[in-house]
Amino acid sequence: MRNDLLFWVWLNSLPKLSPRRKLLLLEYYRCPEAIWSAGREELRQGGLLTEEQLEPVVAPVWRQRAEEALRTINRMGIKTITMHDENYPVLLKKIYDPPVVLYMLGSFDREEKAVAVVGSRRASPYGRDTARNLAYDLARQGVTIVSGMARGVDSAAHRGAIEAGGRTVAVLGCGLDRAYPYENKELMKKIAGAGAVISEYIPGTPPLAQNFPARNRIISGLCLGTVVIEAGEKSGSLITADFSLDQGREVFAVPGNVGSKYSVGTNNLLKEGAKLVTGAADVLEELNLVQKFLKAEAEAKKTVNVLKGLDRWELELVKILEEEGSLHIDRIAARSGLSLNTVSSALTMLELKGLAEQLPGKVFRLRL
């Protein structure tokens, strides 16, 4: 264990000081240990801190807490990356106020090509599907999918990347010792296995509302660009898009229905000049990741081979689902003119071959 870690953790955890302020302190004093051992008077003379900001820096309580957090970090095997480390993500370091320490479960390469896929927590099935498919396709091209592990679009994006066997990163607004929202506990483990779960907050930090906007700057900061899928008029993902612009990164948005309240925010982004996205290719092209995209077409040809193993009923259903997107079982039966028992069993077969999947409400769609 590196012996100055305690001071880093301590500096990072101090309240009342913005990340930017911590960065300035660090530049001035060179290393966190110097700040730790500096007395009240010395700090005052430095002129970087107001009286109010001085208090936590000298208070013993934050020093004790840092020690506690350090024990949890060791116990849970959480990795720490400090500003001075070689492997601090390059893109993140370039932003105005990068966190001085990142806590991480899993792994992240400093030059990893990543794209953020974010959106509303209350997403429509359209939003979740689009997130999942986009993340799937991008992950297939070797792009890391970064998101916030929230309900709705975020979770769908992580899942899509995991299903593609690609990499994905979740940035949390709480300590890494807890899963928020709780139902994503399993998902969090999977993300750590297929990429990383990252936070700037020390273990034990609860998911406070004010943490999330700050967390969003890390999401956009890690990435070449941010894709917003379904955002209401005042969605938190619009904050991420703003950060992305401020940081000089690309902003993409997926259009939604004009009347849909889920898509007011994304449609507004498009009006303001965000790049319109209907598929992974749009993102890859804009970010100059095109060469890799050629591989995708080869993949597409493979699926044609899969279709060869199907009987005529299964083929018929694949054709219908291709045209319609997702469809309820009754309508599939009506469209195909087949009896329900035939349709039921053919759909199970397609599910088992991994070509179709069932959504809540006996709705089916292809997953080619």
């Binding site: 099935p125 139902e183 069993s345 759909l347 599910e351 088992l352 069932q358 809540p360 409400g361 006996k362």
Partner: protein, 511 residues
């Protein structure tokens, strides 16, 4: 002066003879009834006294003792009134020398001597016939019910004076006979039909499978999707009641007192849908003086539990044993009785608290945790007894408008009949009648899979994340689907369809 006349009580759904002994002796005037009667029996003294007096007969001012034998069984209700009054009149010599040996008396008295209807006449009449009695004198309104029993003469009366006139030889009571066969032939007349249901084709198919194999079923769907409407129509496609089944159902309904007047025999499969506030006793039966519960009232029919997660946990847990055995056993210190409870359980539940989880158009406000928690309340052992889960989405307007004519119940029932016959043949002598009743030990014998089938099932468990308890359910349902096609072997196609009926085992309910 002593007399003895016969009446009847019931234990479970079977009647037993009660001998009403009346003794009149000199002493301080009084009227005592012994033999473990409940409050209604004790009060019968007052009704009998007034009825006798108001009919213009004489109530003896002597010491009167009535004994209800067998004296160690508790008796309840007012159906002994008539027998006590007749015994009293005979013992006091007002009836003359008549032989009452071959008669059974059933009926409640009003203060002016009118004979009023009572519950449970059918099992009593059957008991009288079994014990070799000749005639049963009973209230006019109960005559239809008793006339189903052919081996006994039914003598309906409206007033106690008719009974006196009969035995004094002044005016015989006209015996009543109905024609049970003619009653029994009108049995297909349900007031609902599957032809009324537009759309929901896959749910109808699932109900047909459930009816064909006697499988219990759970429907999950948004409010207003038509779950109740569909459930109500399930009895119309189950094969018609046989005469013996009809008698059993009528006996239970007669004891519970829910037989509508003028209905000699229940000829339609019962459909019971108790409210979700029902208690455990209300559901399976019991009480101080045991009564059949809803599950017994639904015997040979359908028990529909709407809003399943809202039922109290106690009530649902007590359903487990009767669903398995087709019988409710109520044990008391001195008596143990049982009510038949062979019923198809149909349950309906919203997918989540707000009900919109499955709706493609509406927004569901529930968190994933709430969604899991809502149906998670249902215990595993209860779900283990439900073979088919099906999702019922709301019908869109364009489906309601569709021109396509829906199949009628009768057409569906014909197919169900065929599948049931195959099962009856196959399970002859095994004590079960349908695939839904298959025991785990019989699966190997009757639900054998070929290599392709086994592979498919293994694949399904891995790919779809089905839970282990789905295994035997899928086999049973696949067996039914094969029977519906009339094939001996369960093919992979049958299994594949059966897998579609395990919605709750799907991952999206659990993660």
């Amino acid at each position: 002066m002593y007399s003895k006349v016969k009446s009847c009580g019931f234990m479970g759904i079977d009647g037993y003879i009660i001998e009403v002994e009346v003794d009149i002796s000199n002493g301080v005037p009084g009227f005592e009834i012994v033999g473990l009667g409940d409050a209604a029996v004790k009060e019968s003294k007052e009704r009998v006294r007034a009825a006798v007096k108001n009919t213009g007969l004489e109530f003896p001012l002597k010491r009167i003792t009535v004994n209800l034998a067998p004296a160690n069984i508790k008796k309840e209700g007012s159906s002994l009134d008539l027998a006590i009054a007749v015994g009293l009149l005979k013992a006091s010599g007002q009836m003359g020398e008549v032989d009452l040996e071959g008669y059974m008396f059933i009926g409640e008295l009003s203060l002016d001597g009118e004979v009023k209807p009572v519950n449970g006449v059918l099992p009593m009449a059957i008991c009288a016939a079994e014990k070799g009695l000749d005639s049963v004198i009973l209230p006019q309104s109960n005559a239809d019910e008793a006339s189903v029993v052919k081996a006994i003469e039914v003598l309906p009366v409206k007033h106690i004076s008719q009974v006196m006139a009969h035995f004094r030889g002044e005016k015989r009571i006209k015996s009543y006979s109905g024609d049970p066969n003619s009653i029994f032939n009108g049995r297909y007349e349900y007031d609902v039909d599957f032809a009324d249901v537009k759309g929901q084709e896959n749910v109808k198919r699932a109900l047909e499978v459930a009816a064909s194999g006697g499988h219990n079923l759970l429907m999950i769907g948004s409010p207003g999707a038509g779950k109740t409407m569909l459930a109500r129509r399930l009895p119309t496609i189950i094969p018609a009641l046989s005469f013996e089944e009809a008698i059993e159902v009528t006996k239970i309904h007669s004891i519970a007192g829910i037989l509508p007047p003028g209905t000699p025999l229940v000829t339609q499969r019962p459909f019971r849908s108790p409210h979700h506030t029902i208690s455990a006793v209300g559901l399976v039966g019991g009480g101080k003086y045991p009564k059949p519960g809803e599950i017994s009232l639904a015997h040979n029919g359908v028990l529909f539990l709407d809003e399943l997660p809202e039922f109290s946990r106690d009530a649902l847990e007590v359903l487990r044993q009767p669903l398995e055995d087709g019988l409710v056993t109520i044990s008391r210190v001195n008596v143990s009785l049982s009510y038949p409870a062979n019923t198809t359980l149909v349950c309906a539940a919203n997918p989540c608290k707000c009900g919109n989880f499955l709706d493609p158009d509406k927004e569901c406000n529930c968190t994933p945790k709430e969604i899991q928690g809502y149906l998670g309340k249902l215990s595993g052992p209860l779900l283990d007894r439900i073979d088919i889960h099906i999702e019922v989405p709301s019908v869109r307007y364009r489906d309601l408008e569709s021109e396509k004519k829906a199949e009628s119940s009768e057409e569906i029932r014909k197919r169900v009949d065929r599948a049931r016959k195959i099962q009856l043949e196959r399970y002859k002598g095994l004590g079960i009648y349908s695939n839904g009743q298959l025991k785990a030990s019989m699966l190997d014998r009757f639900c054998r899979l070929d290599q392709r089938g086994k592979e498919l099932l293994r694949n399904a468990f891995e790919r779809l994340g089905l839970s282990a308890r789905a295994y035997s359910r899928i086999l049973k349902v696949a067996r039914t689907i094969a029977d519906m096609e009339g094939t001996q072997c369960i093919s992979p196609e049958h299994l594949a369809e059966a897998i579609q009926y395990r919605s709750l085992d799907r991952k999206y309910w659990r993660s």
